[in-house]
């Protein structure tokens, strides 16, 4: 099955079939299938197939591949053929044509309809869990397929998948599938956490435009009705059908032929250098660069903008957690406290317990010992009370983006908070505009770049204007430009809204602009230090003990201090340059 290719065609195509509604095409496809089921004449089936072929040409998608994908199931139908074969060709032709025609109708439908629209339509006629299950399955499929692809690539690179090594290949494939299963269950747990955090109330797919019909629906509906009409004609008036089937067949062939010629002519006329659907991305890239420059400047100017308050937003007091495998994380030492309007960074190497701390704050873990209070509540027991005031950005945003489109995803939290459809859309519009992702509103999230996905997830987290924003390793996998852009965005949001931000990271270079307060964790979850970035950087030995490499500037000025030149501890390059220039001028004047 070529699910990934078909999904790409559905989202990237630009024919009138792509622009017609899921409802119109769905009804047309059902009409084609009904006609196919009713048909008992190979000529009728051939006529229906030719009408579908016209649709394939009209879709302007790779016709040969669409035909071959629909033809694949006929291999299975050969078994049915073999069981009924009497030496003639009529029955085999009938069975194979039925299989081919029905499959072609469905393949054409799914290759021209983005899955969110299709599943929104299906969700209306299936029980809730099934409807949502379809969506989660399809969404998870791409995540898991990518995982599987990575694992198989790694296997091949390491010689684990070779021709003529059947037993070895089978063993390696089972390991890969086993690992995939484990990761799938992990993914399901994260999805559960996301659903919970985002206030899932039992209906995932909403707000799609699947039912908005237009003039583009005319052709598929007319073709479907024509197919059904022919089938009814053949059933109800066999004599009339017998006298006209040749004409019908020729007409259908002419329709398919004309569509093919028209499509080829149109392709030739419209083919031009640079034509493609990534032009939007290029515009977006240039916009991003422009915005990035501005944001970087503003973020540098607002490096020390945090204002402390005595109001505690979150507190974790000597929490201990034992995982099912026996691993123990003890978040003791200093208490973790975040005050209202404060930017708090949790710094620590991999495995130090940053995620454990965060999961306690989010109520995803219940402490074995100790106390966790967030916004005045125990998050594990009273999560419902804090959820509307909480925004979360998970490390892997792929697991967080649940909406069929960006706009839907951003509005998800607002809908769950009980706002009406119109108000939710308005809130989503404001949030997308603020985050600079309004141009992505109708895109399917899993086709966005890593930076765009994070911004979309952030827009979704901020849509309800939360008091507390929690971000788990938000800079992982981002290039320096996107990282700087995200830091600047967070700083601006903090300045505008005064919300409390808690971030986990091991990017020490970002601390000066990102943190009012830093908590330093070592292996096992021990909180060994807290303070301003200046205070933490002034103790490079402690950073090294925590397996964190201090920033280069810190190392340089520490070295100068050890050599007897005390210039303090600069927080950024500009600050360091000023101090060094002052020293040089002093030396020159002396």
């Amino acid at each position: 099955m070529d699910i990934a290719a078909i999904d790409y065609w559905a989202n990237s195509g630009n024919s009138f079939l792509h622009r017609s509604s899921a409802l119109g095409k769905g009804l047309a496809a059902l009409a084609f299938v009904a006609a196919t089921v009713m048909a008992s004449s190979p000529f009728l089936l051939l006529a229906i197939y030719l009408l579908l072929a016209a649709g394939v040409f009209a879709s302007r998608l790779p016709a040969r591949r669409l035909f071959s994908i629909a033809a694949y199931p006929t291999l299975f139908a050969l078994l049915f053929v073999a069981s009924r074969w009497n030496g003639g060709l009529a029955t085999p032709a009938l069975i194979l044509l039925k299989t081919l025609t029905a499959a072609q109708a469905m393949v054409l439908l799914i290759a021209t309809t983005p899955y969110p629209d299709l599943f929104a339509a299906l969700g209306r006629v299936t029980p809730g869990l099934l409807g949502d299950g379809l969506f989660v399955t399809y969404r998870s499929f791409f995540i898991l397929l990518r995982e599987m692809g990575r694992m198989l690539t790694a296997l091949r690179l390491r010689g684990g998948m070779r021709p003529r090594q059947f037993a070895s290949n089978l063993g390696n494939l089972s390991r890969a599938l086993g690992m995939l299963l484990v990761r799938a269950v992990d993914l399901s747990e994260k999805l559960y956490a996301v659903l919970r955090i985002r206030g899932y109330r039992g209906r995932l797919v909403t707000g799609s435009r699947w039912h908005t019909m237009s003039g583009n629906d005319l052709f598929p509906l007319a073709a479907g009705v024509a197919a059904l009409g022919l089938a009814l004609l053949a059933a109800l008036s066999p004599a009339l059908w017998a006298s006209s089937n040749g004409l019908v067949l020729v007409s259908a062939a002419v329709v398919a032929g004309v569509t093919l010629v028209a499509q080829k002519t149109r392709d030739t006329a419209h083919r031009a250098p640079g034509e493609g659907q990534d032009s939007g991305l290029r515009i977006h890239d240039s916009e991003s660069r422009t915005r990035n420059r501005g944001i970087m400047q503003s973020s540098q100017h607002s490096a020390v903008s945090g204002r402390r308050s005595d109001d505690e937003v979150a507190r974790v007091s000597c929490v201990r957690h034992v995982y099912p495998d026996g691993t123990e994380v003890s978040l003791c030492g200093l208490d973790f406290v975040a005050h209202r309007g404060e930017k708090v960074v949790i710094l620590g190497p991999n495995g130090a317990g940053k995620s454990t701390l965060l999961n306690h704050l989010l109520g995803l873990l219940r402490p074995t010992e100790g106390e966790v209070v967030v916004l005045g509540h125990d998050p594990a027991r009273e999560f419902g009370a804090i959820q509307p005031r909480l925004g979360v950005l998970l490390q892997d945003v792929d697991e967080q983006l649940l909406g069929p489109t960006v706009a839907d995803d951003v509005a998800f939290g607002a809908r769950n908070a009980g706002h009406g459809e119109e108000q939710s859309r308005a809130m989503a519009y404001r949030s997308m505009k603020r985050l600079g992702v309004l141009h992505l509103a109708d895109k399917v999230p899993h086709y966005l770049s890593g930076g765009e996905k994070r911004k979309v997830a952030l827009a979704g987290a901020l849509v309800t204007d939360p008091d507390l924003l929690v971000l788990d390793e938000p800079f992982e996998g981002l290039d320096p430009r996107s990282r700087g852009e995200l830091v600047a965005l967070l700083t601006e949001l903090h300045r505008e809204r005064g919300l409390t931000i808690i971030v986990t990271t091991h990017h020490v270079d970002l601390l000066p602009v990102l943190a009012d307060t830093v908590y330093l964790l070592v292996d096992g979850g021990h909180i060994v230090a807290s303070g301003t970035p200046e205070e933490v950087f002034s103790r490079p030995g402690l950073l090294r003990e925590s397996s964190i490499e201090p920033p280069t500037l810190t190392l340089l000025f520490q070295r100068l201090l050890e050599a007897g030149v005390d210039l303090g501890m600069p927080m950024d390059v500009e600050d360091a340059a000023q101090r060094l220039l002052a020293l040089a001028k002093h030396k020159a004047s002396a």
């Binding site: 201990r320 034992v322 999961n359 995803l364």
Partner: protein
């Protein structure tokens, strides 16, 4: 090998309708059973396991181009109720891609859903029998898969056998619709097909289903599939039992069948087996200090 993708239009409508009715009844039972559990808990597990089945179907074994089914594995992990739902989701998506007819999703779901449910019970039973052996989960899963596929393939053959009607004469409109005349009998389409039909041989010599021949053919081909699927499922379960034993454990079995321990709004245990922390007291109680 039960994964045959029965296409649209080759089975009689009464059988297709019966398939939908049976599936509808089973879904009703499943819904009642699962209704006690928070949907936000079921949905992700259902979705990702159905996705794993689809990924398995998209991954071929080099060099024989066989793809896995993993329905028994889904049953082992999800339990019979959610496993049946996962089978339905997978069949719906497959039908959208032309793999199996959209009208026969009901019948196809009965076959694949039966694999998930039967596989689950057989695995549990066999594992209990082999409990003391080191490789017992892998062996139990392998044997359960082979047995389940054998039974589900028989079920599929039984369904086709029930049809025992020629699609060209009984599908929808009866034999009278076959009395058409080939308009190209002397023209460019005067092929063998046309010649046969022109003499109305279709109606007179419409072949009935040769069920024994069909069964022999399917069983012969299916044998390869059973062996491969059993080997793969056994190896996967063996691997998972080493890496994350909780996923195929008895405790999980209890969750999958009774669905009792899953309670609304309970936090999960992070790195554990997908169960709320309260469901695994053995890990919490044995803490030091």
């Amino acid at each position: 090998m039960s994964h045959l993708h029965i296409p649209d239009g080759v089975l009689p409508l009464w059988l297709v309708a019966l398939g939908w009715l049976l599936v509808g009844a089973i879904l009703l039972l499943v819904s009642r059973r699962l209704g006690k559990v928070e949907r936000g808990r079921q949905l992700p597990l259902l979705g990702v396991m159905a996705a794993v089945m689809l990924v398995g179907m998209s991954t071929e074994i080099v060099p024989i181009a066989y793809h896995t089914n993993l329905s028994v594995l889904a049953g082992i992990v999800l339990g019979p109720a959610l496993g049946f739902l996962a089978a339905m989701v997978v069949n719906l998506i497959l039908a959208l891609f032309g793999h199996g007819g959209i009208t026969v999703v009901g019948l196809n779901t009965l076959v694949v859903g039966a694999e998930a449910a039967l596989g689950y019970y057989l695995f549990r039973g066999l594992w209990s029998l082999l409990r003391r052996r080191q490789r017992s989960p892998a062996v139990a899963a392998g044997v359960a898969t082979a047995l389940t596929l054998m039974l589900s393939t028989t079920l599929m053959i039984g369904i086709v056998g029930l049809s025992n009607l020629d699609p060209s004469t009984h599908v929808a409109v009866g034999p009278e619709s076959l009395t058409f005349r080939n308009p190209f009998e002397h023209g460019f389409l005067s092929s063998e097909l046309a010649a046969v039909e022109a003499g109305n041989e279709v109606a007179s010599s419409a072949p009935a289903l040769d069920l024994p021949a069909f069964a022999k053919l399917v069983f012969a081909l299916a044998l390869i599939g059973w062996v491969l699927e059993a080997l793969l499922t056994g190896a996967i379960v063996g691997f998972v039992h080493r890496v994350r034993p909780d996923l195929v454990s008895r405790e999980r079995a209890a969750v999958a069948t009774s669905v009792g321990p899953l309670r609304k709004s309970e936090p999960y245990d992070g790195r554990g087996g997908g169960l709320p922390s309260g469901d695994q007291p053995q890990h919490q109680e044995g803490r030091p200090g």
